[in-house]
Symmetry: C2
Subunit: 446 residues, 2 copies
């Protein structure tokens, strides 16, 4: 399994001293795919990464780079001379160049394009017209395209040495590259040699529109039941296809991206990025959090007098805030899933809101009783128990309300609730928690 292979290789590489490392690396490179080699390089601190990179055989270098995340990739490319970079990109194809674009200096890209053959150049140019969210940018180009008039005999001969993986259909296009339809490979095998493949065309074969969102197209490809769908431009030109492998890759990237972004990190981040760059990347998120923390503090500050008189309130404050935060994040998570599946909208929002508030109230009351008893005993005052119980119930209900409304609102604004939902929610539950608890304390305990 990949994870173990990578883990073993990294451990062995870093354990063995000096010259022996080369041997370990060599045998790993020989037995593993470029993807695994890329993962191993990412796991090495910068100096080791650069040292091991030089050992990778030339023909493997580009495939390995393609599989690396952008930041660790830049570490390698930055220390290469212009000559070395040009040698590396000597026969680069369009797909590879598109993937590495962000990491390569402009003049290297220009020179590579100059040397590229016309066919690859056309692929590159047409992909370039779409932005990085569009399927037109990420269509893959291992597909077989034929004119409709080709005979079955010719196609059979051409197919004999093998076809790209997931070739269940061939694509029909005019000499100008206009998409005309698809023909299933199995139909071709049962047809007479003299038949023109255009006559075997599948009716109503689905396709993807190049400007559409690449993530939605990946989902669509998976749900289509086909192993690949053609990607077609606004002018009907066949640009490439999205196959199941590409679709899986894109879904995985999206989920890694979401996970990293929810902590204010970049998906392309290097495990061994420089201290300065890493600190810089993370500072913004810390700053945003600081603002929300100061906001909460400001609300606490309103009750300075009360806190001075009843110090137990200061001790128990975090309990009220965090119970609200947890209850809210449970609702939030359920709603985010529902939104991602298309299951939540105006029509069922009210029912859902009522249900969540009821759930919140029930759990709120249950835990309020427990917390109230503990607080009463701890500080030997029943009134404090009542104050914290009321605050817990109110905060958990407010959390349920926010847990439903915040993600729905963010979604309406076309913001991804999985990214900022949780920060906004805990700001709300912190403030509501502090204000109700300290407010009730001022009224009943002072």
């Amino acid at each position: 399994m990949q994870v173990e292979e990578v883990g073993k290789a990294v451990e062995e590489l870093l354990k063995t001293p000096g010259e022996n490392q080369e041997q370990v690396m060599q045998s790993f490179v020989e037995s593993q795919s470029p993807e695994e080699v890329a993962l191993v390089l990412e796991s090495l601190p910068p100096e080791e990464r650069i040292a091991r990179w030089s050992q990778i055989p030339e023909p493997l270098k580009l495939p390995v780079l393609v599989h690396m995340r952008n930041d660790p990739r830049i570490v390698i490319l930055k220390q290469m001379t212009d000559d070395a970079l040009m040698a590396l990109c000597d026969h680069v194809d369009a797909d590879t160049l598109l993937e590495l674009e962000e990491a390569l200096p402009d003049h290297i890209i220009d020179q590579s394009l100059d040397r590229m053959d016309a066919f690859q150049k056309r692929i590159y140019d047409s992909a370039q017209q779409y932005d990085t969210d569009s399927v037109g940018r990420w269509a893959n180009h291992s597909l077989l395209v034929f004119p409709s008039r080709t005979s079955v005999k010719v196609v059979k001969r051409l197919l004999r040495p093998g076809a790209p993986r997931l070739t269940e259909v061939l694509y029909l296009a005019t000499s100008k590259g206009k998409w005309q339809g698809c023909v299933s490979v199995s139909k071709i095998f049962y047809a007479d040699d003299s038949v023109k493949i255009g006559t075997l065309k599948e009716e109503g074969y689905p396709h993807l529109e190049a400007p559409d969102d690449v993530y939605e197209c990946a989902e669509h490809t998976i749900q289509s039941g086909f192993s690949a769908l053609p990607v077609v431009s606004e002018h009907g030109m066949l640009l490439g296809r999205m196959d199941l492998y590409t679709a899986i890759e894109i879904l995985k990237e999206k989920s890694e991206n979401q996970m990293m972004a929810s902590a204010g990190l970049d998906e392309e981040a290097d495990l061994f990025g420089t201290v300065r760059k890493s600190a810089q990347n993370r500072a913004v998120w810390l700053g945003i959090n600081l603002l929300t923390a100061f906001l909460a503090s400001w609300f606490i500050g309103l009750f300075e007098m009360t806190l001075q008189q009843v110090v137990a309130l200061a001790v128990l404050m975090p309990v009220v805030a965090s119970m609200g935060g947890i209850a809210g994040s449970q609702t939030l998570t359920l709603i985010i899933r529902g939104l991602a599946l298309g299951q939540i909208n105006k029509a069922n929002l009210k029912t859902l809101l009522i249900k969540e508030i009821k759930v919140g109230a029930l759990n709120g009351v249950l835990w309020a009783i427990v917390i109230g008893i503990v607080a009463s005993i701890w500080f030997s005052t029943a009134t404090l128990g009542i104050v914290i119980s009321l605050a817990i119930v109110i905060n958990i209900c407010a959390a349920a309300l926010s847990g439903v409304l915040i993600p729905v609102l963010l979604d309406k604004l076309n913001l991804d609730p999985a990214l900022s939902g949780s920060v906004i929610l805990t700001t709300v539950t912190d403030i509501v928690g502090f204000v109700t608890f300290l407010g009730l304390g001022s009224l009943l305990l002072v």
Copy 2:
């Protein structure tokens, strides 16, 4: 796109009154796949869900149920009579019964098994021998199996009406069901009619072992470059295969599962579960959180005297704790990704730890200065500024340390750091934050 289709249908269904709903549902069911119908049913409150269920044509009912999550599925099955359930399961196949097992009453399962034909019964029994984490349990059974002695002519004739999707190879097995290898379909088309397909066998075709972890097998299938891999028992019997669609399904389920579990929720949870059941499901997680919150409070309680004298400490407490929490969760997220990719182990742990602490120290000092200045001005005392600055630096460094060590430790204990890592981390950063801030306050401000 699926999400929009589902959203539109749910909205329309809940907006249109009474009898017209039936029409809306009917046209939706006719135009959409069972998966979309399942998503729509899940989006309806229980009464509506049951009403719309009765409208689904009989042959579609089982496929729709298979695509539903377990809790919403149970709502439907629970209100059906035994007769209706038996009619539903009349010709159920092994794969469907395995999927619905948890939701159906035992006597219905027994009766269905009695009526099942011997072939399906064998599939069911062999899958049953593996637990729900094993690939043996989830192997799918749309694959073509032939004896090695079958002639190319016969296979060609049998393949003519079409093969299951992603059929790039045929499987060879003995009459007892022992796996003998795979033959690529395209090779068969180029072979002479009289050839026995056994002679066309691919050398070294990879396979999955039935007791292996289903999630790892899914990853392995995707990385293999094949569109499906055979699943073989300990005794060499061919149990079925894992194809790309199943693999994608399993990866998606795993990621939904992780997201839900990180908030203490069950992936099978019903958006419209009953209030009682939902509250019950969530109570445990709230309880665990309560313990950690009380623990933090207990530490604050140690400084009651100090808080009484310097109430500003109570006001600023949450700032120290939350800056630590955020910084720690950034490190945690980076490490969790690294662990999932196999990139982190003993050999690079120390380098990583040093790097993360340096990043923490740099950001810690930066934000400590900002926070120190704000606090000094707010409460007109420079010493308070110094106290909070020191506490912030210490807590952010402690957070970096915990952000590396906690997930690595959990991973060593075979616990998923994506689930419990964050709760443990924030408990640590809360406590360290409160103790250093209030402790320094006691020393310097009282």
